[in-house]
């Protein structure tokens, strides 16, 4: 026992560290375009992973007005994120811990998710799509999908380009 310990402990520690450093996960970057409009409201945004049949594998982020304003509860307009609302939102108890958040200004936003750490649970091997949906008051609605296969064989970066309510999207897969 005493002889075994010193020999394995470094390996065990290395293994732990190695696991930590190379944790599988995904990084999502997307741009909320700066728009030159008279009346600008920050968009509601939902980011999730869906299976090929469009069922939701996991919610990653939902940004909406958190406070109750003059127009009622911030959740009143959540149904404007039509796809997300239909596929997930309406079945969810809001706010969703680690997913719900306040709306964000125009610019690039980076989200990082580690497999096995909420909100990205262990993802069974298979085909998925990252979905980003944005809906803006007095503005439009746009939804983009980035297909990918999990787990990735190597680090990959996948991209998509929005037209109106979303700019460039990049999905970085970390094996």
């Amino acid at each position: 026992m005493r002889k075994w310990m010193p020999a394995t402990l470094p390996g065990l520690i290395a293994g732990l560290w190695g696991n930590q450093a190379g944790a599988a996960g995904l990084d999502v970057k997307f741009e909320i375009p700066r728009l030159n409009v008279a009346e600008y409201h920050r968009p509601y945004v939902a980011v999730w992973l869906e299976r090929p049949d469009q069922s939701v594998a996991t919610n990653l982020a939902v940004w909406y007005q958190q406070s109750d304003g003059a127009e009622g509860k911030g959740t009143k307009w959540l149904a404007e994120l039509r796809q997300w609302w239909r596929k997930s939102g309406r079945e969810s108890q809001l706010p969703i811990d680690g997913v719900s958040g306040a709306t964000k200004p125009a610019g690039e936003h980076a989200l990082s998710f580690t497999e096995g750490k909420a909100p990205l649970a262990k993802l069974p091997a298979g085909d998925y799509r990252l979905v980003v949906e944005a809906a803006r008051e007095v503005g439009g609605r746009e939804l983009l999908r980035v297909p990918f296969t999990w787990p990735p064989k190597s680090a990959q970066t996948l991209k998509a380009e929005g037209k109106e309510e979303l700019g460039a999207i990049s999905l970085q897969l970390k094996p």
């Binding site: 009622g72 959740t75 009143k76 307009w77 149904a79 039509r82 239909r86 309406r90």
Partner: protein, 266 residues
């Protein structure tokens, strides 16, 4: 039975050919898919052009608003204008609200001397007020149901009453989206109704030249499916005649079902 329905339907179609362009009636909710409890407004009218109120207001006194828990909600700000009726409803529960206007009764017509007489009422009044031996007495029973649905949060399952012609959703009426097949079943007195002709007309009728109606017929199990090509409010209508009367003097029963369905874009 099916044959009876078809034959009677044909007879009725011939008898009422002149009335084929009867005005349609409808209720249109301000929203059908809601993410939080809130007020909605309903417009109700009788008109030819789907969802344009340009003829008469609908008598909405008999409208019943059924909350997800089965309780009844009173409408607020009820008003009847020259062209439309309107009312508000505060939706406080999660689930699906059903707004229904059911009219059931007996229609009779006969001759009094040279003058044609028309009568409408319930079975009790019929026995008292309509002379059983009136010349050229024509009696028919009717049950018509007009309805629409609004969901707060996740749509909830809908139950039918088991009376008259009713729509049993397979796809929830608040879960309709363009390009996806939606399925429904028609029931007569709670039993599958085969061979029912269903008409669907999208609103905004004024802004196109053709009616562009979608016509489908229910299958053996009373089911039909439709894939909506365009988003919008749709007027769904079906009519059935049969001989399941409850009043002896009545020869046929006219059943009508009308609903407003909202289809959202992908």
């Amino acid at each position: 039975m099916q044959r009876t329905i078809k034959l009677l339907a044909l007879a009725a179609a011939l008898a009422t050919a002149g009335a084929a362009h009867a005005h349609s009636y409808w209720m249109v909710p301000s929203s059908t898919v809601l993410s939080a409890p809130q007020w909605i407004t309903i417009d109700a009218a009788v008109s030819n052009d789907t969802f344009h109120f340009n003829h008469r207001p609908l008598a909405i006194e008999p409208v019943v608003i059924v909350a997800p828990d089965g309780s009844k909600v009173a409408p607020a700000n009820v008003s009847k204008g020259e062209l439309r009726s309107t009312f508000d409803v505060k939706l406080e529960q999660k689930g699906t609200y059903r707004l229904e206007l059911v009219r059931a009764g007996i229609r009779a017509s006969w001759k009094e001397g040279d003058k044609p007489k028309r009568w409408m009422g319930n079975a009790e009044a019929f026995a008292k007020e309509v002379p059983a031996d009136a010349p050229e007495l024509q009696v028919a029973e009717t049950i018509s149901r007009l309805e629409t649905f609004v969901s707060v949060g996740a749509p909830a399952a809908l139950k039918v009453s088991g009376k008259g012609l009713e729509l049993q959703p397979i796809t929830h009426p608040n879960d309709l989206i363009t390009g996806e097949k939606a399925s429904f079943q028609f029931l007569v007195d709670g039993k599958p109704a085969a061979g029912v002709e269903v008409t669907l007309v999208r609103g905004e009728r004024r802004y196109r030249n053709a009616q562009d109606e979608i016509k489908v017929t229910t299958d053996q199990d009373g089911k039909f499916a439709v894939t909506f090509p365009l988003a919008g409010m749709y007027w769904l209508d079906a009519d059935v005649q049969d001989d399941k009367v409850s009043v002896k003097a009545a020869k046929q029963r006219n059943l009508a079902y009308t609903a407003t369905l909202e289809v959202l874009p992908q």
